[in-house]
């Protein structure tokens, strides 16, 4: 889209999904009449900002149009990065932030008005400012958090970087000069001295907020003997934004290339798997064939310890009873998670999953068994003297457990069918039920 058009077209939510573009005649006329000869876009933004500060409602509309485009871009970027993984789409996100009705005078205060009201052109471009506030929008963040995504603030991006990393990014990706990097380093030093010391002293509460004017002033005082000429608090904020922006851009670029890397990693992992299975005792069936008796004995001991640990840690007898009952229903009565949720008065089946933590349970049982097998069976000794062999040995135990522990979950997925692994020979269920029926 022509950049200029962004100043007189407003993007609005489309009730049918997505967004729609609306042309605002007032805005278009205002630009055409006031700035007919303007060729430089950034000048237009400066002029409009100045007009807005002089209370021009037309200029305000133009800038609100522009902000709606920034909002869309930022939302698209969030969806591109995380939408697939956290299961949300553009419409989910836009609903929170693309809320301008395009009316010149109204009591209603959309996000774009708030962005403009807090905007200071001395600190950042309008695009940067809008992007930042969109990302920080509380309701949007609340929604994303529900989806399992926590968006880091710019400050958190700044906080987690090391000096070496910062210098690398600034010089190799953004080609900053040595002097500029030295200055950036000083700014970061003042930020650490003031802002981060304060954050620790105040108990490191929640999301990082923007440095207060008072904090910026202290940073300026800190920098005074080190920097020439003297810098203003606004300049410091501006610089910190710029540094954070570089780090965030860098981070973003990485995300966009990640899927390819993921594939290579996966291929590597698959390769490893192939390597290990061609190497002696590995498949779970083979493992069970050789060590069936010992497997049973160690499994029994491991289950006893783990179940005891888990129940003793749950708050109160009721939870502990629920835990044991859920295990019994799942492995002895062989009923599905959904039915268990009903029986235990837990609202949903994922509550059952959370209560049982089967994945961790399996991992812990495997660990105890490993220890037990080491102590009990001298033939396995060599497996514990070499980390690679140990990995293969433990993998085999884990695979054997996996088949049996997860067999029931599979069953949940395909209700009618009882999976083979479960029907045939489930030592895990057998031992667990024996244990649970003892008390």
């Amino acid at each position: 889209m022509n950049e200029l058009v962004k100043y007189w077209t407003l993007l609005r939510i489309n009730p049918a999904g997505g967004y729609q573009t609306e042309k605002l005649a007032i805005a278009q006329t205002y630009i055409a009449q006031t700035y007919p000869d303007l060729t430089e876009l950034h000048q237009l933004q400066q002029h409009l900002t100045r007009d807005y500060q002089n209370h021009s409602t037309e200029a305000e509309l133009c800038l609100r149009c522009f902000i709606s485009h920034c909002t869309l871009e930022e939302c698209s970027s969030i969806v591109r990065q995380f939408g697939e993984c956290y299961q949300f789409n553009q419409s989910d996100v836009l609903g929170y932030v693309l809320d301008d009705d395009g009316l010149a005078t109204s009591d209603y205060s959309p996000l774009s008005k708030k962005i403009l009201a807090s905007y200071n052109p001395a600190i950042a471009t309008l695009n940067t400012w809008a992007t930042r506030l969109v990302r920080q929008h509380p309701a949007l963040n609340q929604f994303l958090k529900q989806q399992g995504l926590f968006l880091k603030s710019d400050w958190a991006v700044l906080n987690s970087t090391t000096l070496k990393r910062l210098q690398q990014v600034l010089s190799k990706r953004f080609y900053w000069s040595t002097e500029a990097i030295q200055t950036a380093t000083l700014y970061l030093e003042s930020y650490h001295t003031v802002y981060l010391s304060d954050r620790i002293a105040e108990g490191s509460q929640g999301r990082c907020k923007e440095p207060t004017p008072e904090q910026l002033k202290r940073m300026a005082n800190y920098l005074q003997p080190k920097l020439n000429p003297i810098v203003s608090p606004n300049q410091i904020l501006n610089q910190l934004f710029a540094i954070a922006e570089c780090l965030r851009q860098h981070h973003l670029n990485r995300y966009q290339t990640e899927s390819i890397e993921d594939k290579t990693i996966q291929i590597k992992a698959e390769q490893k798997l192939v390597d290990s299975s061609s190497n002696g005792l590995d498949s779970s069936e083979e493992f069970l064939y050789h060590y069936r008796a010992q497997f049973r004995k160690c499994l029994n001991a491991a289950l006893e310890t783990v179940i005891q640990d888990y129940t003793s840690r749950l708050p109160g007898q009721t939870k502990a009873d629920q835990f044991r009952t859920a295990l019994r229903l799942l492995y002895c009565q062989k009923i599905t998670m959904t039915q268990i949720a009903e029986q235990l008065d837990l609202k949903r089946q994922d509550n059952v999953a959370r209560l049982l933590k089967l994945k961790t349970l399996r991992a812990d049982v495997g660990l105890h068994m490993l220890k037990g097998l080491k102590q009990d069976i001298s033939e396995t000794a060599q497996n514990f003297a070499d980390p690679e062999r140990l990995n293969r040995f433990a993998d085999a135990i884990d695979a054997a457990l996996h088949d049996q522990v997860d067999a029931l979950l599979e069953k949940d997925a395909q209700q009618s069918k009882t999976p083979k692994a479960y029907q045939k020979d489930n030592l895990f269920a057998e031992q667990l039920c024996a244990l649970l029926s003892r008390d």
């Binding site: 399992g148 380093t185 640990d309 660990l367 433990a394």
Partner: protein
Amino acid sequence: MIPLDAASTLVDLTPERVNHAIALSQALINPLSRWQSYLALLALEGFTQWLSDRSTPIQFDRSQARLLEPSGFGIPAAINSVYANQFHIGFLVVEDDVEDEIEFPVSLMQNPAHFYVAVCVHEESHQVSFHSFLRGADLNLDSTLDETSMIPVSLGEANLERLLWHLASLELSAMALPKASPMISPQWLIQPLVNAAQWLQTQIDELTWTLFSLELTPAGMRSRASAFNADLTSVFTEIERSGLHIPSTAQSGYRSITLNHHTFRLYMTTWAVEEASKPEWSLLIILESIQLSTLPTGTQLMVQEGDNVLIQEEAKLESTYLIAQIIGTWDEKFTLTLRSIDPETHVLIDSLSLPPIVFQPY
């Protein structure tokens, strides 16, 4: 960007754990190293919590854990001297979007560990996740004057379960240690801050220090002392004979400390000094060896107020104890440092400080 429900382990830190990390990092004298130290302490708290939420046959011991403090801002801090079964584990903090290299604090190589856990700390949400773990033996750091060294991520193993397998059942001999390098950074014993005034009011549940009163339980004291190398009461008698009066209200505590692979016992006795015009407090410190009847030659005990060294005692040949006594006003805090110096070459081998001890009755 943090996936809250990612398949990989994401640990929520309890407020108590966060507060522990805050308290210790705030006590650090250099404000520029506080932030990175804070992140490293959160990493340790996160791992501790993760492990304690599990049921594992692994004995986890962080009673000697140390914070390795960097020299300035933006340089990662690290943790070592954490033990799981017989294995020594170190911790380092990595960003959650590390690329092909991890920034590894070289200070970790002063006392090499079997494993290093690389932890992503999500400070805003008080969560940690585990990036990978490294085997010490795989590390081959370039000798460099830099405080950190870049190592390829490919050396790391992302599946932390494998670390647990190793810790639970691997033979100690199967895991070699990397070569030690002599770099020494300021090192802090990670323990709850000691407010000596609370010892007097016996208001606290001390976990790291065993508290006792010289006056009230002389019999108990003696029976405990029988486990010590010498009768401690005679030491106190000797101190009193030299002119120092220890009032009956004094409260004492002891704990063990490992320095240069040698285990010591550190005693502290504290009391309020009322006679002065401005309220003061007194701290008496005694250091003895647990393993031997005398202290290793070259062991040093130092007491500082801020950067100011107030007392420095060094064990000569056949020294049984090092003793330091100090009086300060209620707003003064004292930092104890134990050092181990090679008696022949006079090279500093190990150094460990206790977070500042304060006396705040209110």
